[in-house]
């Protein structure tokens, strides 16, 4: 079951979702749709890894909602930013879990490399992540074909 908003709890998570939406990132809304649909008709959320992997691979760390976990796949931005983030272990392969953010666009709280770390959203936006951790780990490995009839396409 792929519920993206794991343990979404309280105002922090709600705030993160609202913010992500205001930034034009649709990932969260879509995952909520899956959750709703799964709850309504009893079917599992869609299992088409390739499609989701591509769509979610383009998200940034700043778009994570509270409780979401993601794997870093790339770091953009200027050299000073990249080196600073690298020194803290924010490099491809690192797993980050979002613990919410401060109001009015304040820093994001991330559990990364075992430490609670606050990062400004502007800097976090430079870090590309893949939300589904197992898929990102699998990397270029061939993915199993989706069984017909199980996947539910996006409207």
């Amino acid at each position: 079951m792929r519920v993206v908003l794991i343990g979404a709890r309280g105002d922090l998570a709600r705030f993160g979702r609202t913010w992500a939406r205001s930034q034009g990132r649709g990932g969260d809304r879509r995952s909520e749709t899956w959750v709703r649909r799964g709850a309504e008709d009893g079917t599992a959320p869609p299992t088409r890894p390739q499609e989701r992997s591509r769509a979610e691979g383009s998200r940034s760390l700043a778009g994570l909602a509270g409780g979401e976990e993601a794997r870093v796949v790339g770091v953009q931005g200027g050299p000073a930013l990249r080196r600073r983030l690298a020194a803290l272990g924010i490099v491809p392969g690192a797993v980050a879990r979002c613990r919410g953010g401060m109001p009015l666009g304040g820093p994001l709280l991330l559990e990364i490399r075992g430490a609670l770390t606050a990062l400004r959203r502007r800097d976090a936006a430079m870090v590309r992540v893949a939300v589904n951790v197992e898929e990102a780990t699998a990397g270029a490995a061939p993915l199993p074909p989706a069984p017909d009839g199980v996947g539910v396409d996006e409207p």
Partner: protein, 650 residues
């Protein structure tokens, strides 16, 4: 008791002489034993340092920087060892001043010193990255594995033996807070030192050559891409090592996470922050007031007694006045700082040590960022309302030198306790009743506006923002230890007193001479009164008379002396006391402009001296003085011009 410092200094001198002799005859000199202490910020490095050295810490700055260098001594195997505390860092990548210093120290000492890396088991991956980086350049590395208990509570069991095997380095589990395992750490470091010496003596040529080659490779400046790629590789290796040594166990929400639910709450977090700041103010600046007063009273009594003594001995009256108002007054001016500085610094260090300070920084970062400052500077800015001196010291938490200077330049625009007191009295005099509250509120808003405007100006000119992010790690909470709070606090206060006493004493003596000489003259005939006539011309553009200008000038020594000076100068001016005389001598508009200028102009002597110390340059201190004079002058003129345009009388 024999003096250990002198003893070892003597030993050092002998060693230097021996080395000089031996280098002449071409033999390897015996080197003093030295250990370096390296670790991530908040890994417990300072606590371990205090454990190892018994808390005795000699503090100096690293050459050519404002970064603090702490050294201490311990005895290992009967020999003295010098322990050098390097700044808390995440990597040897020379991005910040701290990192450059740590990197240089490790590179220079590699092969001669044992490097103790403090690793935090609860945040193992970042610690291991530093361990690997240090081990690349230093042959003798011992890992002190701290915070195993915290790691267990957070759901990971770290096996020191497996870690040691995976790293190929000795790993000693320690509890820095209680001192557990410290003996074993010393033994391991000793062993590493002996090994290092043997390698050095045995294959002097080969090993040294190999080492310097390794150092050459590690010492070269990496391009940005290479640095990033190396970090990526290093963290892959870190993950392997961690996988071998860490076992995940069932975890429950840790106390830290439970506290953070409240402390970082979008609403309650701010309520708590206000309460904590209020508490710090209450204890440091309000509760210490009786102490300050008691010190002042005791000195006053001593002064009276001295003056009576002089009179009884038939000495001249000016001598008694000199002793009471000049000399002891000066001592009092220095000591007046001490009670609240002690309390303030203890609270500040305790908050820092507890982990709450990082939360406060995160809570207000957005607000501070909006005006070009940083969340970490918030505590410093807030405490500037108590006293600018500790506020300037508190900016040390900012890693970036440019950010630190930006904060240090705007802090003096926030009125301190002393200035607030004078402002309250004078506002009440100029604007009786409800208008006073309005005027005072206006002044407070004005100071915030000036801070925002000056920061914006600095960010566009001298101190542009850097692209590098300021990342804040939020360490788990823990109860601050006395040692970690009180020792640095006492050190701060000692440093302050030792650098300020000369200036304050001389300045107070000068003030006394101006107001009390020539001997036996009435206040109206004193040098001060005569000087007031002469400096009047300085105040002309702002419609201030000489007495107000002189009050501003004397406020440079200590802001609270302004009231005293005004009392002397206006004392004989008429009925109703000096305050009423002052209020009737200028229009409300000029009065308000005077208050604004008083709030904004050059900070007090102690602040300027601290500014010089903290920025590491007299030029920044001078710039700050000129900046605040300029801003005050401009603001005063603006207020008067706009007021006159609005139809108020000058």
């Amino acid at each position: 008791m024999s003096c250990p410092t002198c003893g070892s200094e003597g030993a050092d001198r002998t060693a230097t002489a021996t080395r000089a002799r031996e280098s002449r005859i071409g033999r390897r000199p015996p080197e003093p034993e030295r250990w370096l202490l390296v670790g991530n910020p908040n890994a417990g490095k300072t606590t371990l340092f205090n454990r190892l050295t018994g808390g005795r810490r000699e503090v100096a700055n690293w050459p050519g920087s404002t970064v603090e260098k702490g050294t201490g001594r311990l005895a290992a195997g009967g020999r003295p060892v010098e322990l050098v505390d390097l700044p808390g860092i995440y990597s040897l990548d020379a991005l910040s001043e701290e990192e450059s210093i740590a990197r240089q120290a490790v590179l220079e000492e590699a092969g001669r010193a044992v490097v103790l890396v403090v690793a935090d088991a609860a945040r193992l991956e970042r610690s291991l990255s530093l361990v690997l980086e240090v081990a690349e350049v230093a042959p003798a590395v011992v890992v002190a594995l701290n915070m195993l208990d915290v790691a267990r509570a957070e759901g990971q069991e770290v096996d020191p033996a497996a870690l040691s095997e995976a790293l190929g380095l000795p790993v000693v589990p320690v509890v820095a807070r209680s001192g557990e395992g410290v003996g074993e750490l010393v033994a391991q470091a000793e062993a590493a030192w002996r090994e290092l010496r043997r390698a050095g003596d045995g294959a002097a040529g080969g090993a040294a050559g190999g080492r310097s080659r390794a150092r050459g490779e590690a010492g070269e400046e990496l391009s940005d891409e290479e640095a990033f790629a190396r970090a990526e590789e290093r963290f892959l290796r870190v993950q392997e090592v961690a996988a071998a040594a860490v076992r995940r166990v069932r975890r429950e929400p840790t106390p830290s996470e439970r506290i953070d639910r409240w402390a970082l709450h979008p609403v309650l977090g701010y309520v708590l922050l206000a309460a904590v700041l209020g508490g710090v103010f209450e204890i440091a600046f309000v509760a210490s007031a009786p102490l300050s007063e008691a010190v002042g009273e005791a000195l006053g009594r001593l002064g009276d007694w001295a003056a009576r003594g002089v009179a009884a001995a038939g000495g001249p009256t000016w001598l008694g006045g000199f002793l009471r108002d000049g000399l002891l007054g000066g001592v009092g001016a220095v000591l007046a700082f001490v009670p609240y500085l002690v309390l303030f610094y203890i609270l500040q260090e305790a908050l820092q040590d507890s982990g709450y300070m990082a939360r406060a920084a995160v809570l207000v970062d957005r607000l501070m960022e909006a005006i070009g400052l940083h969340g970490k500077g918030f505590f410093a800015m807030a405490t500037a309302y108590g006293c600018n001196v500790p506020a300037l010291t508190a900016t040390r938490v900012l890693e970036n030198a440019r950010d630190r200077i930006a904060h240090e330049l705007v802090i003096p625009f926030l009125p301190c306790n002393a200035r607030l007191g004078v402002l309250l009295v004078l506002t009440a005099a100029f604007f009786p009743g409800a208008r006073g509250a309005l005027a005072f509120g206006g002044l407070m808003l004005l100071s915030l506006g000036v801070v925002a405007a000056v920061t914006a100006l600095l960010r566009r000119t001298l101190l542009p923002r850097e692209e590098a992010p300021l990342v804040m790690e939020l360490p788990p909470y823990h109860v601050p230890t006395w040692r970690n709070a009180v020792l640095p606090a006492l050190h701060h206060v000692r440093a302050f007193v030792s650098r300020i006493w000369r200036y304050l004493l001389w300045a107070t003596l000068a003030l006394w001479a101006l107001s009390a000489l020539p001997a036996g003259a009435a206040p109206a005939q004193s040098y001060a009164a005569r000087l007031a006539g002469a400096v009047g011309i300085l105040g002309a553009p702002w419609h201030l008379d000489g007495r107000l200008v002189l009050a501003l000038l004397s406020g440079f020594v200590a802001k609270e002396t302004t009231l005293g000076t005004l009392a002397i100068l206006y004392g004989s001016a008429g009925a109703g006391g000096p305050v009423a005389a002052l209020a009737s001598s200028v229009s409300p508009l000029v009065g308000f402009a005077f208050l604004a200028m008083y709030m904004l102009y050059t900070p007090c002597l102690a602040t300027v001296v601290t500014l010089r110390e903290e920025t590491g340059s007299a030029r920044w201190a001078a710039f700050s003085v000129l900046l605040s004079l300029g801003v005050a002058g401009l603001t005063g003129a603006l207020i008067e011009q706009l007021g006159a345009l609005a139809g108020w009388a000058l």
